[in-house]
């Protein structure tokens, strides 16, 4: 029986991009379904009744929600190649810790960078750079967070790279100047087809952020 896989997603979402990378790494054929978040489809509401959010993965009729849970699911369901998580339990815990750190700390801060002004913005920029430095520490001399290959933390974090231009332009700062290792890592990831095909054009993302800022009354 052929697998039926559908991804309900929104083009600019870094969380959706995580899942696109994961599916591409595993070579899974799937239907990409762009969702209108201002007018949510019946399918999205049916498949993700609790959060009503993207990404939502539908695999043979059953849905999986929450991007990191989906990425782990993709790793479990398609075990044959490209494991995202190491096999050792302690290393797996470390990996999960850093992905959780990205969701708990990093994401909230990045939202402030493109919505806040003045002191709040300066604080957010400082916090963001601090987080990136911690991530640089975790990366160390490895090519990827996953070691020799893309792993769970790479998949969790690299989608935000296509939003960096928006952060830098809104925040008037250079991420590369402060954290060159992270930029080097991101560029290395972009050499992989699964990543380069999944990330969106940073200029398009920036246009989208400008629209959001207008809608939120920031500008």
């Amino acid at each position: 029986m052929a697998d039926e896989v559908t991804l309900l997603d929104f083009w600019a979402s870094p969380f959706g991009i995580r899942v696109r990378i994961a599916l591409a790494e595993k070579g899974v054929k799937y239907e990409y379904s762009e969702q209108n978040l201002k007018n949510k489809s019946a399918l999205l509401l049916q498949m993700n009744p609790v959060y009503k959010k993207i990404p939502t993965l539908i695999h043979n009729g059953r849905s999986v929600c929450e991007s990191l849970i989906i990425v782990q699911y993709v790793d479990d369901a398609w075990k044959a190649n490209a494991p995202f998580l190491p096999s050792d339990p302690h290393q797996r815990a470390q990996t999960r810790f850093w992905a959780d750190f990205i969701d708990k700390k990093v994401f909230e801060i990045t939202k402030k960078i493109w919505t806040a002004k003045g002191e709040e913005l300066e604080g957010a920029k400082k916090d963001f750079i601090e987080c990136l430095k911690l991530l640089e520490g975790e990366l160390g001399e490895k090519p990827y967070f996953g070691g020799e290959n893309l792993g769970y933390v790479d998949v969790a974090f690299v989608p935000f790279y296509c939003w960096f231009y928006a952060y830098e332009t809104c925040g008037k700062f250079s991420i590369e100047a402060e954290c060159p290792k992270i930029i080097a890592w991101a560029k290395r990831c972009m050499k992989k087809e699964s990543v380069s095909r999944s990330l969106e054009d940073p200029k398009k993302v920036y246009e989208f952020v400008l629209e959001l800022r207008k809608r939120l009354g920031v500008d």
Partner: protein, 232 residues
């Protein structure tokens, strides 16, 4: 000649506080699996240098140290425990069921705890009403999920039960302090039944923190939070 017996026992330490529902998850999981461990009691106002060394990023409990390996964040620790000690598994093998368990555990932390802890316990007036309404919505999702099952994990306690387990003790205390019933037997019969089942399960029932101490602590937290909001 004496035979020297080398101590092959593992060293397992849990850094916790008496009140932390997060640390309690770790204690439950280890006890459910029959793993021996030592507890290091922390005072969050005066954190030990060791805790700060082991968890420099979040500086929180729980922390698990297993033969020198450090793990932080309660849900991450639970998965580590399940992968390291395979008896009495907390997660099913099936990828979709596994994803489902993780989903409900995360929902508990991201939504249920926020609305009940942040919204109902720490607020009053309109803000508390909003917190209450949000909590009702969240509890309804849990009710739908638990219906027809003994535990979220099925016949045995699983990851989601452990993650949501605070509802079976801490919630009673919140309800008493604010004078509101959240898990109403009529509104949420399946969830109310799960609460009883879980609260009275072996091991779980032997490890609840002292009720009176928790009431005192939570009343203080509520008053401190409301006091902060008072205009000068």
């Amino acid at each position: 000649m004496d035979e020297r017996k080398y101590n092959m026992a593992e060293e397992v330490k849990v850094f916790s506080t008496w009140a932390s529902p997060f640390a309690l998850r770790v204690i439950w999981a280890l006890k459910l699996k029959g793993v021996e461990f030592d507890t290091v009691h922390e005072d969050l106002i005066n954190k030990s240098p060791l805790l700060l060394q082991y968890n420099p990023i979040h500086k929180k409990v729980p922390v698990l140290v297993h033969d020198g390996k450090v793990i932080c964040e309660s849900l991450v620790i639970l998965e580590y425990i399940d992968e390291t000690w395979k008896q009495n598994p907390l997660l099913p093998e099936d990828p979709h069921q596994k994803a489902n368990a993780r989903f409900w555990a995360k929902f508990g932390d991201d939504k249920v705890m926020q609305s009940i802890g942040g919204g109902v316990l720490l607020k009053e007036g309109k803000e508390q009403e909003e917190g209450f309404a949000a909590s009702m919505e969240h509890l309804k999702y849990l009710e739908d999920e638990i219906r027809g099952k003994k535990f979220f994990g099925g016949e045995t306690i699983g990851l989601a039960d452990i993650a949501l387990g605070w509802l079976a003790h801490y919630l009673d205390i919140v309800e008493e302090i604010v004078g509101l019933r959240l898990i109403d037997q009529e509104k949420f019969p399946s969830l109310a039944a799960w609460k009883q089942e879980f609260a009275n399960a072996p091991i779980i029932r032997e490890n609840w923190p002292d009720r009176d101490k928790l009431v005192t602590k939570y009343v203080a937290m509520r008053e401190a939070n409301l006091g902060k909001g008072t205009p000068k």
